[in-house]
């Protein structure tokens, strides 16, 4: 009985084993058509919806640039004719120091070298009586510093001298006064003027004497002529008496005739002699007049020169004590001189205090960048935000150190308290903008219909409907759309794609 049960059980086990094998084979190989269809069918796609937005669209050129202060300018000190030799530098500004108008740039042998704003460089000593553009810009600078009152004239006058004195005094220095040479020169000129005055007086006296000489000569000539004429008359009378007297011998007549001839010659000689004497006297007068005029002119000139020289004994401004820069303040970039050097020639290099950014754009973007365009300057990692303006765009590629595939351009940074110099900054230049908020959707939401129109799929009441739109400006992945048929409002949902289940493990 037991054996039989075991056999039955064995049989059952065998059947179970066969069934298991069949089951395994069936699970792995037998698929129903529905299973196959379900496995191979594409998953039901679900629409990816995003809301319609209202936003300002702007198309930008984004590039990088490094901020710097203005281009380096050398600062040179011109030699002064007022000083026998240049002073020795005793103090110099520190690198990166910011220098404003009226500040002392450096000191040389105790004298200051001031910094002033002006386009004309300092090229000569300025002193009373001097005039020109340099004097004008000095007066304007002194006016900015509050020392010069009144209207600038371009002439170094007493008011200018007073302003210079006040300016120097305010900075703790004495204004530059007359030199010993100038004072000695004035003394020499005074002596020369005294001599000239003496000469003028003497020549005037000589001229008055010449008039008398003429009169004297005329009187003498007249007298001599009269005497000669009277002698002629006497000779004529004697000849008449002898001629009328028959008793007179021929010799007497001849003698009488000769006496007349002699008297006539005497008259002529007296007249000529008188004329010569008068002419000589007139010439002497003319000479005296010329001498007097020359002496007078010389004296006048000496007087004017002395006056000018005395004027120059006032406050002066040696050319080696001022430096004019076109724009201030400036920042010291490099100090080339050292303490102890003679204060002449280039001593340091400065840059203006205006921040600029050197940048470049690729060839294809270059036509969009124009002078005057507004630029957004930022560096997200540093939290920097500023604005600027394009002030220069190179005429061609490959200039200012950029390669041949880029155009250089310069951006002037608006005033900012953030120290940007030396940093790489992101420059965003809006080249096209919708200016106002417009209806915009992601670019992927717009599709092209078979009839060539652009359209969107909008969810309306749980269903998807097409809305024909007119596309506009595209920027930042969005596109401006204007519905041609139907309406489109902010917040409405549009289809940007369809989602299907990704296989496990796929990122």
């Amino acid at each position: 009985m037991t054996q039989q049960r075991i056999r039955v059980l064995g049989g059952v086990l065998g059947i179970v084993a066969v069934a298991a094998l069949a089951g395994w084979w069936g699970f792995t190989h037998v698929k129903s058509p529905a299973d196959v269809a379900a496995r191979t069918a594409a998953p039901t796609p679900s629409a990816i919806l995003v809301p319609v937005e209202e936003r300002v669209l702007s198309s930008n050129v984004v590039t990088r640039g490094t901020a710097r202060f203005g281009l380096p300018q050398p600062v040179s000190i011109a030699p002064s004719m007022l000083k026998a030799q240049p002073g020795l530098i005793t103090t110099l500004p520190a690198k990166n120091a910011s220098l404003r108008e009226g500040e002392v740039l450096l000191r040389a042998s105790g004298r200051p070298v001031f910094l002033l704003e002006g386009r004309t460089p300092a090229y000569r000593d300025l002193m009373p009586g001097v005039s020109g553009d340099d004097v004008y810009q000095l007066q304007v600078a002194l006016m900015r510093l509050g020392h010069f009152k009144g209207a600038p004239t371009g002439e170094f006058d007493a008011a200018t001298g007073r302003a210079v004195t006040a300016w120097y005094r305010g900075a703790g220095f004495d204004a530059f006064g007359p030199t010993e040479e100038q004072q000695a020169q004035v003394r020499v000129m005074e002596r020369e003027l005294a001599d000239a005055e003496k000469l003028r007086v003497s020549t005037a006296g000589a001229m008055a004497g010449a008039d008398l000489g003429i009169e004297s000569a005329r009187a003498t000539a007249d007298h001599d002529e009269r005497v000669a004429k009277s002698e002629l008359a006497a000779a004529n009378a004697e000849r008449s008496r002898v001629v009328l007297d028959p008793r007179q011998p021929e010799a007497a007549r001849s003698a009488a005739e000769a006496a007349v001839l002699k008297a006539e010659a005497g008259v002529k000689a007296a007249r000529l002699s008188g004329e010569l004497a008068v002419r000589n006297a007139v010439d002497a007068k003319k000479s005296a007049e010329i001498d007097a005029r020359l002496a007078s002119e010389r004296a006048d000139r000496q007087t004017a020169d002395l006056k000018a020289a005395r004027l120059r004994l006032g406050v002066q401004l040696p050319v080696d004590e001022i430096v004019f820069m076109p724009a201030l303040p400036v920042r010291v970039q490099e100090v080339t001189a050292v303490v102890g050097d003679a204060a002449r020639g280039p001593v340091l290099t400065v840059t203006d205090n205006q921040l600029s950014v050197d940048s470049a754009v690729p060839l294809e973007s270059a036509p969009f960048v124009k002078v005057g365009m507004s630029v957004e300057i930022s560096e997200p990692a540093l939290g920097v935000n500023a604005r600027g303006t394009v002030v220069r765009v190179a005429d061609g590629p490959g200039t200012n150190g950029v390669d041949g595939y880029h155009f250089y351009f310069e951006v002037r940074v608006d005033r900012t308290s953030t120290p940007l110099q030396g940093y790489s900054l992101r420059l965003t230049i809006p080249i096209q903008s919708s200016k106002t908020a417009v209806i915009a959707v992601p670019i992927s939401a717009v599709s092209l219909a078979s009839d060539g129109t652009s359209r969107l799929q909008v969810q309306e009441g749980g269903k998807l409907e097409y809305v024909v739109v007119k596309p506009g400006l595209s920027a930042d992945g969005f596109i401006e759309v204007t519905p041609i048929k139907g309406t489109l409002k902010r917040g409405q949902l549009v289809v940007v794609g369809y989602e299907s289940a990704a296989p496990a493990g796929t990122p």
Binding site: A19, G23, W24, R64, Y423, G505, P507
Partner: protein
């Protein structure tokens, strides 16, 4: 007797259900980094590189997306020097983390530099033409504060946690949030690591490392430990050797010695314990070894 019958009946039921059960496939995971298939990895790399380029463009920089081959070459360049076996590399440079550190940006590095390889020659060339200020900003935009962790390097080490800048931004758009964490295990590794034998091996590893003077619990932890220590010494990898203080140089020297010793011991345990055990478990799980 009754007992025998019950046993046989039980076996019958077991066999009945064994058929369908054995028909289920083994866990489906890819064999590449992060458990991806090769196709998925190629797609992921292309997506990430394109997103990096987009992000860099928004920052004002030009970045040429590296192709799969370039990124792959950057991955294979990790801990590898041509003509040197893995063992020789470990003997000479450990993991090559602190021992080959020079503090220069990857693009300016010479010789062994997997980060540079993974960026691609065009990006390296463009970087070298930038001004010093732009170079700093470029790497800050591309890599954040940790300059040695490029996409290729992070992918190779399966650790995106050290990535920064546009690289991290791009990776975050392609990979899942959990894959961005330092503790992420790819599905394949997770399966292998669930095996009790491997857990036992890890305990053995920790014990042996402690005996050798290292408080390291797993081979993965060892490299991260060195990287973090290096970052703290070098201010996030931004200090060049010349710019280091004497104290920092001394600390780096100490770390290099530590790395060499730890890497040698790690390799010893890896070769003796982990490699054969992992191969065995993988064969059991996937019917083949996964490289």
């Amino acid at each position: 007797m009754r007992q025998s019958i019950q046993t046989i009946a039980g076996l019958a039921v077991l066999v009945l259900f064994a058929g369908p059960a054995s028909a289920q496939s083994p866990p489906k995971t890819g064999t590449e980094e992060f458990g991806l298939s090769q196709r998925d990895l190629v797609q992921a790399i292309e997506k990430v590189e394109a997103l990096i380029a987009k992000c860099m463009r928004e920052q004002g920089f030009t970045y040429v997306p590296a192709d799969y081959a370039t990124v792959r070459s950057g991955m294979t360049a990790d801990k590898s020097i041509p003509g040197m076996s893995d063992e020789e590399f470990v003997q000479k440079y450990g993991w090559g983390i602190s021992t080959l550190y020079d503090g220069r940006p990857p693009q300016l590095g010479e010789g062994y530099n997997p980060a540079r390889v993974g960026l691609g020659p065009r990006n390296v060339e463009m970087y070298r033409k930038l001004s010093p200020a732009d170079q700093v900003a470029y790497n800050r935009a591309l890599l954040g504060t940790n300059l040695s962790v490029t996409f290729a390097v992070a992918l190779e080490s399966e650790d995106f946690s050290g990535c920064g800048g546009c690289t991290r931004t791009a990776i975050a758009q392609v990979f899942k949030p959990e894959q961005m964490t330092a503790t992420y295990y790819n599905p394949t590794d997770a399966l292998v690591h669930q095996d009790p034998r491997l857990k036992e091996a890890l305990r053995y590893y920790a014990l042996e490392m402690r005996k050798a003077g290292f408080t390291l619990n797993s081979p993965d932890e060892a490299e991260n430990h060195i990287r973090h220590r290096l970052a703290s010494i070098t201010e996030g990898g931004t200090l060049t050797l010349a710019a280091m203080s004497p104290e920092q140089r001394a600390a780096l020297k100490e770390l290099q010695t530590y790395e060499l010793r730890a890497a040698k011991k790690n390799r010893e345990l890896k070769v003796a314990v982990f490699d054969p055990l992992e191969a065995k478990i993988q064969r059991e799980l996937f019917a083949r070894e996964i490289k």
